[in-house]
């Protein structure tokens, strides 16, 4: 290919990216507007438990007789917010940390990476559980003091974003640092250093564009990973609490009542479709981004 296409054009011509983007827009819209468009009674507990999908309840109803479509859209809100913000926290922290460590090298690098080792060496699940149990009462108290009692239901969401973001950046930092180490000894970086380019130029013009590919691919792996982590925490009973919902909470509820004798298949099917379509779309989008941004595949 001789013509030089901008990343934006490349992204536009990739059908998988367009479809994924459309799916994500639909998911975001459903999360933002869906619950408000449903009748107000949809989220209430009724006696109609385990109704199969029908014209009235498109996705059927759950154990407590709540409309599953409503629950899935409510779950989309929390899952998307937790996934995206948690991943962005880890992305920012990881890139800055890995770049500094790898670029500085020497003593700074080894101290910074030992710290990552130490944090790594505490099992993430334990770190998360301890952080959540320790922070939960504190955040509630703080919210009560500042007159935010109406938001206490969401204190868990806030804690989850914080804790997941603060535990997910370690791998990002390691990947970025590894890339920087490898790039630093490559000829084009050595050359630009030898002609006296400033550190700022080397970092922003040579290192960042070249490590953005792997970092972005890892970011797109982090968003679903955070959504999955949240679902594990919900499965263990320390994540989002009812009456709020997340996809993980819906799936773990379903996994607990589903068995071959009572086939409440819709409880599993619809949350799985919602969650996996979103995660698939995120991953396709990330791949498209990688192909478009990777400077060495450009032109």
């Amino acid at each position: 290919m001789t013509e030089h296409r901008s990343p934006w054009v490349k992204l536009h011509r990739n059908p998988a990216v367009i479809v994924s983007f459309a799916i994500l827009v639909v998911a975001a819209l459903a999360a933002a507007l869906g619950p408000a468009l449903m009748p107000a009674t949809a989220g209430e507990v009724t006696r109609n438990s385990f109704l199969p999908p029908s014209a009235q309840h498109w996705f059927g109803t759950d154990l407590n007789g709540r409309d599953l479509l409503y629950r899935v859209m409510l779950g989309a809100q929390i899952s998307l917010i937790v996934g995206v913000t948690g991943a962005l926290v880890s992305f920012g922290v990881g890139i800055v940390y890995g770049l500094i460590a790898g670029y500085a090298g020497g003593q700074t690098d080894s101290i910074m990476m030992r710290l990552v080792d130490i944090l790594y060496a505490i099992p993430r699940l334990i770190f998360l559980l301890v952080l959540i149990t320790a922070l939960d009462p504190l955040v509630r108290k703080a919210m009560a003091i500042y007159g935010l009692q109406t938001l206490t239901g969401y204190s868990k969401v806030f804690i989850l974003v914080l804790c997941l973001g603060m535990t997910e950046w370690l791998t990002m930092a390691r990947i970025v640092r590894g890339q920087v180490l490898s790039l630093k000894s490559r000829i084009f970086v050595v050359a630009s250093r030898s002609i006296g380019q400033s550190h700022k130029n080397i970092i922003f013009q040579h290192l960042l564009p070249n490590l953005m590919g792997p970092a972005l691919v890892y970011l797109t792996l982090t968003v679903p990973a955070v959504i999955l982590d949240e679902s594990f925490l919900s499965f263990l009973g320390v994540g989002v609490q009812a009456p709020l919902a997340s996809w993980g909470l819906l799936l773990s509820d379903a996994a607990q009542v589903i068995n071959p004798i009572k086939g409440y298949w819709w409880l599993l099917l619809f949350p799985v479709i919602a969650m996996s379509m979103t995660l698939l779309a995120l991953n396709f989008l990330g791949d498209g981004l990688r192909d478009a941004l990777d400077p060495r595949q450009r032109g």
């Binding site: 030992r114 080792d117 130490i118 790594y120 060496a121 505490i122 099992p123 699940l125 334990i126 559980l129 301890v130 149990t133 320790a134 009462p137 791998t171 390691r174 990947i175 590894g178 180490l181 490898s182 000894s185 490559r186 590919g213 792997p214 691919v217 792996l221 679903p224 999955l228 679902s231 594990f232 499965f235 263990l236 320390v238 993980g248 799936l251 773990s252 996994a255 589903i258 071959p260 599993l268 799985v272 969650m275 996996s276 995660l279 698939l280 991953n283 396709f284 791949d287 990688r290 990777d294 060495r296 595949q297």
Partner: protein, 306 residues
């Protein structure tokens, strides 16, 4: 090389010490104690319990005493599983998790690397698309969905494998697949994206220009460099898999150590918690050391020893 390893081994001790200390004080930061029940215990009984489990006295003194016991290899008594020592509990459950974990580790690494490099070699063909779609599904579904689905298909609809349990070779198959699936997918994606980058490099062009076959170029010259990101992922992967997963173990009723990671926190069982953290931590640092050595051997552009 020997100096490098000795330096890192000393580092291992420092890391272990830091992690034990952090864990010890984190446990004390958590609200609630190990003997908190609905009904408050009479004061003298609680006092005796605390003394038996060496939880009395000022916190710094407790910490120093605990470190002393650790040096003698004593992980102390569990406050939840009364009268059983943490050493005993871990000695029973860790081999189970370790066996399952090592099978899953091999499964994930081999299938991930093979599928990933195959997909990169056949970029934009149906092989690439199918492999990556399968990988995406494996990443996108939580193991508490994959596990029951596998059970439903292979143990109930087509009863060829046991539903769960421990002890037979067949009972290892479904849990190790469930455990390995997301990691295999992860590795496949990592291998593919890194292989695609490597295949644009000059030395690959040179290898092709020499007339080497596609297989040799990709698996001998390409994989050697393309595997680097995968290698750096293997350290944490091994530590994670070998210490067990609560979800897979509860789905398949396997008597492993994974459950202790969660229950010890929820039960405020401090010494058991510290015990699993120590095991996990030692494994992790050990495997990361191995990874660094392999990294240096594979990529000569990185010098470890200055």
């Amino acid at each position: 090389m020997i100096r490098f390893i000795a330096k890192r081994a000393a580092g291992l001790v420092v890391v272990l010490f830091c992690v034990v200390s952090i864990t010890f004080f984190l446990i004390h930061l958590m609200p609630g104690g190990p003997f908190d029940r609905e009904r408050k215990l009479p004061e003298n009984i609680e006092k005796q319990l605390l003394a038996k489990y060496k939880l009395d006295g000022p916190i710094f003194e407790q910490y120093v005493n605990y470190l002393g016991d650790l040096l003698h290899g004593d992980l102390r008594l569990s406050t939840k599983y009364r009268n059983r020592s943490v050493n005993e509990i871990l000695a029973q459950s860790l081999p189970v998790s370790g066996l399952l974990g090592s099978i899953a580790f091999c499964l994930a690494t081999v299938s991930g690397v093979v599928l990933g490099s195959l997909a990169a070699a056949k970029q934009q063909t149906w092989i690439d698309r199918t492999a990556m779609l399968a990988a995406l599904f494996a990443i996108s579904l939580p193991s508490f969905v994959i596990g029951p689905l596998l059970v439903l298909i292979f143990a109930i609809d087509f009863p060829v494998l046991p539903v769960g349990g421990w002890g037979t070779l067949q009972s290892l198959i479904l849990p190790s697949i469930t455990l390995a699936a997301p990691y295999a997918a992860y590795i496949a994606r990592l291998t593919r994206s890194s292989m695609l980058e490597v295949l644009t490099e000059d030395f690959i062009r040179t290898a092709r220009a020499k007339g080497l076959s596609n297989v040799v170029v990709i698996y001998k010259h390409g994989l050697r460099v393309a595997i680097l990101p995968v290698v750096s992922f293997l350290g944490p992967l091994a530590a994670n898999l070998l210490t067990g997963s609560i979800i897979v173990e509860s789905i398949f009723s396997i008597p492993g150590a994974g459950g202790f990671f969660v229950n010890s926190v929820l039960n405020r069982d401090g010494f058991l918690l510290a015990g699993v953290v120590i095991v996990y931590c030692s494994l992790l640092v050990l495997f990361n050391l191995l990874v660094d050595i392999v990294y240096g051997l594979l990529d000569r552009r990185i010098s470890l020893y200055d």
